[in-house]
């Protein structure tokens, strides 16, 4: 059976499908520019860096989302300040901030475990789970998503220009640094959102995988963002479905994690996009597509 009983009537599943879908769309839009700008490392690091904010929030008893957002905005600011603009120093700037934040996370997670006397906090903050989201968080998540996607759309053309060539953008009168800061803000918001809701693993997977695949298929950023969002949403929903079904696969097993399924799907799609399809003529591809449809 493809859909095991109770899939659509299950409240955690409904929340997971909704939140996962929203996060996948935002990650697809922001991720397209992350890949174009070569800032995948920053995109991934923010998910880990946010952990420090998440554990601080746990310590003072507020929602981890706000901890993630505050920490990531700060981290993005420091990265920009110490030199993420220069291609050579980009990874180093990210790495220094990541190293410092991980040290802080080690301290705060340790303090979390001494305060609450459980180690659940560590695992929860580090890995997040799409099935344990309270549905009351949905409005907050939607608002942050709209803001992150809104920033990208508001500076859409200068962002494309400065992502393709910062020299060209400067010559055309674009304030490249300002655009860079605006973009990092959107990235920090999008990653906080995805890391806290679906975990750090899926956050990076949804940010980079679909966008990298889409940019193999098309050169146009707008179309790539659209394709990336679609790939992300489909992979997330299929992953949730498979994870739900996997509870029934083994009599004794407790089901397989969503992140495993989503990551595998995204990676397979990416590998497929790497295959040399160009050998076939466009007409043949089109004929094949109509036959399949």
């Amino acid at each position: 059976m493809i859909v095991e009983p109770g899939f659509f009537s299950n409240l955690p599943v409904q929340t997971a499908l909704l939140v996962g879908g929203v996060v996948a769309v935002v990650s697809g839009i922001v991720g397209t520019f992350t890949v174009m700008r070569g800032q995948s490392f920053a995109g991934h690091s923010l998910a880990d860096i946010g952990t420090a904010g998440g554990s601080a929030a746990f310590l003072i008893g507020i929602s981890p989302l706000f901890g993630f957002v505050a920490m990531n905005l700060m981290a993005a600011g420091v990265m920009e300040w110490i030199g993420i603009r220069r291609p050579r120093g980009r990874d180093l700037a990210t790495g220094i901030v990541l190293g410092a934040a991980l040290g802080l996370a080690a301290l705060l997670l340790y303090l979390d475990t001494t305060v609450s006397s459980t180690t659940g906090a560590t695992v929860n903050v580090l890995f997040g789970s799409i099935f344990t989201l309270p549905s009351s968080m949905i409005p907050v998540i939607v608002i942050f998503s709209v803001v992150a996607a809104g920033i990208v759309l508001a500076m859409y053309r200068p962002l494309i220009l400065s992502s393709v060539s910062s020299d060209l953008a400067t010559a055309r009168g674009v304030h490249v640094r300002l655009v860079g800061i605006g973009y990092l803000t959107a990235l920090a918001l999008a990653v906080s959102l995805s890391a806290v809701t679906i975990g750090a693993i899926l956050s990076t997977a949804l940010l980079i995988g679909p966008a990298a695949t889409a940019l193999r298929v098309t050169n146009r950023p707008g179309r790539a963002a659209l394709i990336a969002s679609v790939i992300g949403v489909v992979a997330t929903w299929l992953g949730v479905l498979l994870a739900y079904d996997s509870y029934y696969w083994f009599p004794s097993g407790g089901g397989w994690p969503v992140s495993f399924f989503v990551v595998t799907l995204i990676f397979l799609v990416y590998l497929a996009s790497q295959l040399p399809f160009r050998a076939r003529s466009k007409a043949a591809v089109r004929a094949g597509a109509t036959e399949a449809a």
């Binding site: 890949v35 220094i96 301290l107 994690p257």
Partner: protein
């Protein structure tokens, strides 16, 4: 502070620091910070897998980090390097989450693999750590000239017959071995700090490659020694001290470099700052 188990901690951490200082120099030079983060983090999944099938964690670490290194080099040939690295780390972590969901390992075990357990290193573990560390150092020294050439001027090196892909594979395999050795001691998240911060700080102080490498080793040693002492005295996690001392030394290095640039009486070397190592080949 210097007896029994603590002695193992000092010895193993010192070995890790020396290797991290040497390998880190090339990581900073090549701008491969992302790979230095991805391999230890992904290898963590290998340790989880090893505990699942009941073999030694170090075997899982080795298998995963070497597979990861080869995949990053292979995928990076066709696509953007950072994208390949990002995909490799998420695939390895995805497998890790699968392995963890199948085991009944208690959360502290995960915590210690991520943040290290330098105070829990036993005497029998010292031998493989020292052996793998030695292999890493020898490999870097043997490949020093071509690696330097390929890192600083990849195109010229390629034209002279030093293959870019080959050097990338060699280099990532060294990082993979460093990972295998270091993760059980300092943890997946902190070996990254040790690989990046001392080497980045050292680069701010000098333009000469061998001096920078030596300085990087010294800073790495100083960092772990101070971190162990502070962790022992304060009872706080060692990772916190490694992370903050690392960021601190980098900040000092940047500050020093900025002062050198603005001082009118600066030496000729500081005025015409060349990218490090340009004079080597």
């Amino acid at each position: 502070m210097f007896s029994g188990l603590m002695l193992n901690a000092w010895e193993s951490a010192s070995i890790v620091a020396v290797v991290a200082g040497v390998v880190g120099f090339f990581i900073v030079l090549r701008g491969s910070a992302f790979a230095a983060h991805a391999l230890p983090n992904g290898a963590f999944a290998g340790a989880a897998g090893a505990s699942l099938i009941g073999v030694d964690a170090i075997i899982g670490l080795a298998v995963f980090s070497i597979l990861g290194a080869v995949t990053i080099a292979g995928l990076g040939r066709r696509a953007r390097h950072d994208v390949a690295t990002a995909l490799v780390i998420v695939v390895m972590l995805g497998l890790g989450s699968l392995f963890l969901s199948m085991t009944t390992e208690y959360a502290p075990v995960i915590f210690s693999l991520l943040f290290g357990e330098v105070l829990g290193v036993s005497s029998s573990e010292l031998v493989p750590i020292a052996a793998i560390g030695g292999v890493c150092i020898v490999a870097v020294l043997l490949a020093y000239r071509p690696l330097m050439f390929s890192s600083v001027m990849p195109d010229v090196a390629e034209a002279r017959g030093v293959g870019r892909l080959r050097m990338e594979v060699v280099f990532l395999l060294v990082v993979a071995l460093t990972t295998t050795m270091a993760v059980p001691v300092v943890g997946a998240l902190l070996i990254f700090s040790l690989l990046i911060s001392p080497a980045a700080a050292a680069r701010s102080f000098t333009d000469r490659p061998l001096t920078a490498m030596g300085l990087s080793v010294l800073i790495a040693l100083g960092t772990v020694w101070a971190a162990i002492a502070l962790a022992y005295l304060s009872n706080l996690p060692i990772g916190f001290f490694v992370g903050s001392i690392g960021a601190g030394t980098y900040a000092v290095g940047r500050f020093w470099a900025a002062r050198q640039r603005t001082r009118p009486s600066a030496t000729a070397g500081a005025i015409g700052r060349r990218p490090i190592g340009l004079e080597v080949p």
